[in-house]
Symmetry: C2
DNA sequence: CTTATTGTTTGCCAAGTGGTGAACTGAATG
DNA sequence: CATTCAGTTCACCACTTGGCAAACAATAAG
């Protein structure tokens, strides 16, 4: 069970940073070593490794070291769990929208203006 | 334009807390005043108001005060923007999955075990 | 007017985050 | 063996977060 350490808290926290989201986007195109991942960013290796650690502990990525290079890859299953929470909430809202159609429509047009 | 202060950073950060996610869930069922929202949680009003402020600054909710009660409501459009980012990433991954079908399938089964 | 209700502000604190530079480990490479 | 290369660890720092208690509005109810 300690392997199943996935939580929405850590997943959303991991996504709440543009550096980490960029790493996710990059890894979507395929695995990569740490140095290649770190190159686009204007920060030292220690700082970047902290971001990688946050991503790994959130379960969104996995890493494996072979020789002197650590290769990182995405874990799409855990990313989709965060997506699932959001879409469930939207479904909940849509259910309520049927009940309160008129009211909610007013809120939405108000949102358009803001 | 200063009203259009939506960013994925603040949105995901707002979602990275179970109290705030519970508030979102509650508001999906309809607007509510602060006191009713705060009741389920074991924390003082000041602490809870900080959570509300995070949610409001993230654009996920809006609040309005009339008389002595502040009413909170959801802003579904901004919630769906976070969902959009996630589903776009998944789409990106699926595009790559076609190219690297065999490799990625190995990673997925490995994910099943972990 | 008096009092209870509903926020709101202020000051404070412990813990966490995001970065730095410097020193170090361990695997290639010449 | 000596050197570079990729990553890691460590100590440190400024800043933010998430909670508290207490004092302070401002409105509603009696």
């Amino acid at each position: 069970m300690e392997n199943c350490s996935f939580s929405l808290d850590t997943a959303f926290h991991a996504l709440a940073d543009s550096t980490r989201r960029a790493v996710i986007s990059r890894l979507m195109k395929g695995p990569a070593p740490v140095k290649e991942l770190a190159e686009p960013f204007d920060m030292g290796l220690p700082a970047f490794l902290k971001h990688l650690r946050v991503l790994e502990e959130s379960g969104l990525i996995a890493t494996e070291k072979s020789g002197r290079v650590r290769t990182c890859r995405i874990r799409p299953k855990h990313l989709s769990e965060a997506e699932t929470w959001l879409s469930e909430q939207r479904a909940l809202w849509q259910a309520g929208a049927d009940r309160l159609a008129t009211y909610v429509e007013n809120q939405m047009t108000e949102d358009d203006d803001e």
